[in-house]
């Protein structure tokens, strides 16, 4: 076995092969970043809809909750297939990258919506009441009262989710996007030893995921003690934590 590995290694680690792997890594990162950033923005929308006041907005609130609860309970693989076949049923020549991004987006929206809602709810009630007393609109309250106070709470778990999603994008290889897992499978089919190919791929995923997760943890600690957070704590009465 070792002989075979030693024989294949020079061919596997040849520059053009490594370039293919690097390109695939770039694709994986691009999928994650585009999908999760879009998902993050949409999740703000979902939470905004979910907190619409009034009895007339009940269907809107219900739909927002329904969306989050349903898509958190469907496997990402199934979501990917659903998006793929739904889009292919109605759209000609849809790009596979777009399909993968839409699937990631749908999924990350459902997950980050809960993170954002948790962050919004961490802002003391009196803040919203004060904003209402000063005749702020809902949008003004959100932009100038809630978001500035809640982003240190929202950002670390949202980043952690996105970093965790780098690994989950491996499932998108089923659709045929040229990302890392797809490339690895292709190289294995070309005859490279699976031990070598998947071992290297695992290390490449590790190389992407580990530094970013460390950075996420650093960000969390950093934000936990940031001036904005400290002033926020000072604003709140001591007995009400």
């Amino acid at each position: 076995m070792l002989e075979r590995l030693a024989m294949e290694a020079p061919r596997f680690f040849a520059p053009h092969n490594l370039a293919l792997l690097l390109e695939a890594m770039g694709m994986t990162l691009a999928l994650t970043v585009v999908g999760c950033v879009l998902g993050f923005l949409l999740a703000f929308g979902i939470v905004f809809l979910r907190q619409t006041p009034g009895r007339l907005a009940l269907p809107i609130r219900f739909m927002a909750i329904f969306y989050v609860e349903i898509f958190r309970r469907i496997p990402f693989l199934v979501v990917t297939y659903l998006v793929l076949f739904f889009i292919q049923a109605f759209v000609n020549n849809a790009s596979l990258f777009a399909i993968a991004v839409i699937a990631i987006c749908i999924y990350s929206t459902a997950y980050t919506a809960d993170i954002i809602r948790g962050g919004f709810e961490s802002v003391a009630r009196q803040q919203t009441e004060a904003a209402a007393a000063m005749n702020f609109s809902r949008w003004q309250t959100l932009v100038s009262v809630i978001i500035p106070q809640s982003w240190p709470v929202i950002l670390p778990p949202a980043v952690a989710f996105a970093v965790g999603f780098i690994k989950d994008t491996a499932l998108v290889s089923q659709v045929g996007v040229f990302e890392l897992t797809f490339r690895a499978k292709e190289m294995n089919n070309e005859g490279f030893s699976a031990l070598l190919v998947f071992g290297t791929t695992a290390l490449l995923y590790f190389a992407m995921s580990y530094p970013l997760s460390r950075w996420g943890r650093w960000l969390e600690q950093r934000l936990a003690s940031s001036p904005s957070k400290r002033s926020q704590q000072r604003l709140r009465p001591a007995h009400r934590s």
Binding site: R73, P75, Y81, L82, V91, L171, T181
Partner: protein
């Protein structure tokens, strides 16, 4: 007005839901396999997690390092690649396991890494004074784990564990479909490759996943309330 963009779309797809519902028995068989895989993965992972968390909390520097490397490696690589490695990589050196075994082992190792972290958080929540009291009573390390730590952390980490079980059921087990395990998603792929009603099949499968996880969440919440007096969230 120019409607040329409409060429991208075609609206002549006819849904045939009857075809999908006709395969409901096979899909439910798949759901049973999904549940089996989920339960085996969870309990296997919980054992590994318990061991890993014990090593990280009570082990010497070397054992702690081993547990650290295990957790960091498995939480930073995709479960799919781990399963491919077990299935094809070990196949290269003559260890041939069937897809179900590979999926089970891969997912269990993967879950074990996450559960190590969850359980360690529970271990840390045990107060020092409690441990000192147990030590004063002359309990051995094993007795301290069995009679002081486990009952205490069961209550603290139950919500996280219940949540993680749902994650395994949703995110984990469906990975098996890719390597050919006949669980719920796998069954849907098998049937769809025969009758080409992919869209209808996967809508029905998504519905089954929602029902399955709702039942699981509900029963976990009830068990938690009954056994550990935890108010776990259903939704």
């Amino acid at each position: 007005m120019n409607f040329s963009f409409l060429h991208f779309f075609h609206f002549n797809y006819t849904f045939q839901w009857g075809v999908a519902f006709a395969h409901l028995p096979e899909l439910l068989q798949g759901a049973v396999v999904t549940l089996e895989l989920g339960l085996l993965t969870f309990w296997g992972g919980a054992l590994i997690g318990l061991l890993g968390a014990s090593l990280k909390t009570f082990g010497g520097p070397f054992l702690r390092r081993v547990a650290d490397v295990y957790v960091v490696f498995f939480t930073n690589t995709p479960a799919l690649i781990q399963i491919y490695f077990l299935l094809y990589g070990l196949g290269d050196i003559g260890i041939l396991w069937d897809p179900f075994t590979c999926t089970l082992i891969g997912l269990t190792l993967n879950a074990g890494a996450y559960l190590t972290e969850i359980m360690r958080a529970g271990f840390i929540s045990v107060h020092r004074t409690e441990m000192e009291a147990a030590e004063t009573l002359g309990m051995s390390v094993w007795q301290r784990i069995r009679f002081v730590i486990v009952p205490h952390i069961a209550k603290v980490i139950y919500p996280a564990l219940a949540n993680f079980f749902i994650v395994i059921l949703v995110m984990g087990t469906s990975v098996g479909a890719i390597v050919g395990v006949d669980e719920l998603t796998g069954q849907a792929i098998n049937i769809s490759t025969e009758n080409y009603r992919w869209l209808e099949m996967f809508v029905v499968v998504a519905g089954i996943y929602v029902v399955l996880t709702l039942i699981a969440s509900l029963s976990l919440a009830l068990v938690g309330r009954w056994a550990f007096r935890v108010k776990a969230k259903v939704l």
